[in-house]
Symmetry: D2
């Protein structure tokens, strides 16, 4: 890369959660600078947030439309390279389409859109424009998740037979949406969140992780969705039996009412020769359980040859210096930035750089949500997981 990339942010004001995470992730490696923002639909919040982020007043916009039009009118060496969209789910599509229409690449917080139909329109637009979209499925940004994928791809575990993936959270164990929790409020509101709260917010992460590591697609599902907190309008818990296109079977469990759980994303994948286990709470370890050898623990940042180039590329420190959620998030931004940098420089990105979630993952996520809801409403055991 020959220069820093310039980022404009839609959403992410001081009263929001995920916007700050995106900025930490984008800042970390010194490859991206926040150049402008339409940080809130509340004008006062937008201005105050811009100031707190040291944005110039001239580039602290009140609406994303204003931002995209104004930035598109700036000289090429000043205007932003991409737009990051960190608004609630229902407000992803419109700014994304407008950004693409004005020639800006796009980063979107997951789930990619409110509906599968919107995601398909985005896909079409990307084809037409040749621009790049990056979807921030954080968990596949962890180096040891990439290591797991590499080991499956290289056949280290043999043919994959079984996948168990789980995402327990407890933060919706009370009816927080009625007690002034803004995060809870929009996530449990079907007009803002989408068809399923638990699957939209966390189930898609789990499904993405399972497909990412195994390199296989989920073809059939048997789902149940539950509302376990009385008075809640949307689901807050679910489980899905899975069939994969390589013949493997799986179970996906996601809950927002697993009282006392933080964000304990965990995946186990078993093949003929061994299994892997990865837990987000200790993300720098990948446990390998061999069928006929002692268990190994691979560690991020280690020197040994066992670590794949994909794991190495996504570590910043030697073993024993724990990297975490923000670094995983930053890996997505870094790979996106390096890829965009290559595009700008006219060079070829490496496979490691290209390894970030894209429109295809977004489409599969939206289809998964739709199909889980269909399956949950059906008396039939199995429902195909089609786009």
């Amino acid at each position: 890369m020959t220069r820093k990339l310039r980022m404009g942010m839609v959403g992410g004001g001081q009263d929001a959660f995920i916007g700050a995470i995106h900025r930490l992730a984008a800042n970390m490696d010194g490859l991206i600078e926040l150049s402008c923002g339409a940080l809130s639909i509340n004008p006062e919040m937008a201005v105050a947030s811009g100031k707190a982020l040291f944005l110039p007043e001239s580039r602290t916009y009140l609406t994303y439309e204003e931002m995209i039009i104004a930035e598109a009118a700036l000289p090429a060496d000043e205007r932003i390279d991409f737009v990051t969209i960190v608004t609630p789910n229902f407000a992803h599509f419109a700014p994304a389409m407008m950004a693409l229409d004005h020639g800006f690449n796009v980063v979107i917080e997951k789930p990619i859109t409110f509906s599968l139909e919107e995601a398909k329109q985005l896909e079409q637009k990307l084809k037409e424009t040749g621009l790049t979209l990056c979807l921030t499925h954080t968990y596949s940004g962890y180096p040891m998740v990439k290591q797991a994928k590499a080991m499956v791809r290289e056949g280290k575990l043999g043919k994959i037979r079984k996948v168990w993936v789980e995402y327990p959270q407890g933060w919706l164990s009370k009816l927080s949406e009625r007690e002034g929790n803004a995060q809870a409020a929009w996530r449990t509101d079907p007009k803002k969140s989408g068809k399923s709260s638990v699957m939209g917010d966390i189930g898609t992460h789990a499904a993405h992780l399972a497909e990412y590591i195994t390199g296989s697609k989920i073809t059939d599902i048997c789902a149940e969705l539950n509302t376990l907190v009385e008075g809640r309008v949307m689901d807050d818990d679910g489980a899905v039996l899975l069939k994969f296109d390589n013949g493997a079977k799986g179970v996906l469990m996601a809950s927002q009412v697993a009282s006392g759980e933080e964000n304990a994303v965990k995946i186990r994948v078993y093949g003929e020769k061994g299994g892997i286990e990865w837990l987000q709470h200790e993300p720098n370890s990948l446990i390998i359980k061999w069928l006929e050898e002692p268990m190994q623990i691979l560690r991020a940042g280690s020197n040994y040859a066992h670590l794949s180039s994909f794991a190495r590329h996504n570590c910043r420190t030697p073993g024993g210096h724990p990297e975490g959620y923000l670094e995983a998030f930053a890996n997505i931004y870094r790979n996106f930035a390096l890829t965009l940098g290559c595009k700008i420089d006219g060079t070829e990105p490496t496979p490691e750089m290209l390894d970030f979630p894209s429109i295809e993952d977004g489409l599969r996520g939206m289809a998964f949500i739709d199909n889980v809801v269909l399956s949950a409403q059906s008396d039939k055991k199995w429902t195909p997981n089609v786009l």
Copy 2:
């Protein structure tokens, strides 16, 4: 108790696995002595095994029929108090019935019988005779499992909403039944094992554990059973979605082909106020995840008042002296022996003594196997879990 109880063993010769475990468990507390045995259907093995166990020749029998008849003919202060049956599943019922018919109490390795019908006959016989049957569902013998049950019963976690129970093993990841592994051979043979291998061998343990801790019954199930090793005759993997009679939902996962896993029984139960997690590999810890307080780890053998009388009664050592599988197994034998001792002495057993698995657990286990197989064969999502 005023004297040691006398035990006769059916099965458990030198070439078997679980019989030795039963003897270790029965020996430990000095409440039971092995007095006789019909240790193998192979006469040479029976004799050699009796010798190795220092049994007198006169009480080393060649068949269980011979044993039961001979022992019944001994004077009351010599003959055995109970028969322990540690043969493969298909050979539980006949010796159990005969033992009961001759006035002997019975301990049976799980699953209780080959079929639900047999279990129902045993139930009837127990009602008629007033004798005691003990089923060795080991995992509910652990003190911290009893602690979990006590905490649920006392409402510490609030209303229970969600149960995740899993039993991963990897020992059948290869087609070991064709490679001379006797344990694998009978367990994957439908004539010896029953309707389901994975559910009979380990799934019933998981279901028992879930019902034991929650104090609720599984009312509906949605099951899949898989044969993931090519060439195998029976299932070796499965998953079951669960509904409980208190409104809670659950997921049960059991696999014998989770390569590299040992015997990692784990259960998580979430209520309105918090959740508990227990893992057999670290059985002396019970993790309590509170919704609004820091996580706690309760430890077996601790002095603090948080431990229930049931947990305390089932510990032998102070905290920090790890007790394990054999002690959990011994707890079942100890409680059975103390209960039988009370019966002999004409005293009243405490609730702690009476806390061992019985015919009811056996019936529920057999019904669960039957219903899981029905559900797995059905296109309908939900199947009632009825006796």
Copy 3:
């Protein structure tokens, strides 16, 4: 073995702690039966304890002298094979000597005696009589400790450079000896405990473990002993810098006032090629940290070839069925019994059978206590650790 061995117990009445542990350990494998006892210096307690253990009245003795004399007068096929001594430290020597004088083998709870001088007299007596003494240093009875020793012996870790061994307990964090805690009272009383409380009770375990695993002897020490609870008469905490005869260096830490700690014995040994870590709270795992390969976790009861014959011989169950403190204790009794059985049968015990702590370990333990006290009182940095 052709028959069960007969054991007589000195100490271990219902009001004691370690006697019950010895009985559980001796019972477990069905190789030993408790035949008689002098279970308490309090005659009522002695009688009540004998009854509770189902001992015949005729073999429930009131003093160890009475027991030894009476048992020696019994016919050979009735009298005990060995005496187990589980009294407080000051009362080990006399019954041990008398037992040996009457031809009985001996098992003694550690530390072997009250003073080094007594231990030397025992050594002399053992030489004269040819009898066998077993010292119950529990921690070297764990299979994964034996595995660690085997790996060091086989050079798997290269030349050993560094040893860290620690034994934190918290049970003396308050002045419990003044609050009616009988265990605390004798252990903190220099007339009953010996020269050092913390080193006698737990420091010797740590020193034994370090020498056992490394196969090296501690040659020089630099010690401090602290009394960290006000009002206590003896030390309750200490640390010792160590030099080993192979050139390795070490640190030993022992505390009875590490508030909140249970019995967290831990040892780490580092060689040129890798290190091992073993923690008693998770005793079935041995962590191997390789210098140039991923970390491995060896598990007790596993099938793979990495487990030494010594580890295998001391496991009772397959991997994933946790064995604990009582099984480690039982391993000592089992190996002692098998060795004695060979003696009786005129056969040769295997190296695995002979692997239990003996008089030499007792002597080294007593010398270590003496030398630590000397060093702690000295202004000089280093004190030789001589017998």
Copy 4:
């Protein structure tokens, strides 16, 4: 803060290690921008590194002297606010003094200088100039370390009695300094590293952590230093017995030859009422072992009231989103920047902002190194730890 702070870096070229860490940490929160650098003594490396970091050519300097003079001559709204020094130990002092002399605040990688004398001169210069110095003792930047300090300060653990702190690394287990490892080469060279390699590189971290959490000073030490790899010029291992000014005792262990260890900094502190345990490899957990209550695990980012304002201030994400080494490092930069921002804005920094290591920690670290070396050379057991 009303604007980003501008940073100039001395050292940290593309061939260095710790400079990149400093940049990641300084970037993360968007409060600091890298404005210039004298990144290498090798001019080509300096230029290439500046380019890779997108620095303007005009502010890519070849020496720190050039940088400081040129920056001091820039207008106030362009020139840097502070200089970060990330050179090897022997090259800290001169640029620090020169920066202070020209009115720049300073951040220095630890140990602060090559000798105690240099550190004292820095202290004097800071007094004269009123400028701010920040020392990057990373481990006290972790939120759960700050939580531990808060709990000790608030008396939650009662009077502190015992401290165990350890820092095992294995990266110098071979003679890497002879095999082209540049990091190993300067750290084991007494002309570049200082009086002690192991204590300068990692022992001071451990000593700082112990004093930081306990709020007590180490007053006396008994040290040994070892060279455990044949052919090495400096020490690579050591242990120190500690006395604290509040009467507590301690043990510090540091090794660079603990084969297979990564960077496993760990501290345990025991008081009258309980103990805490913190391990850098799982930095978001603080284990609290209560004397008379169940163990608790406090988690970074949690909502409950148990977390101190200092822990909260130093978390960026909710519980379950693991933060790591870079975030701890960034906390130091953030607090330094916020403090400097207040100075610039004329406002009062909060106690949470002021909580970063300073010259006093630097002085104590240098004195500790000196005193450990003195003690290691002495035959006397105890050496005072004086400045």
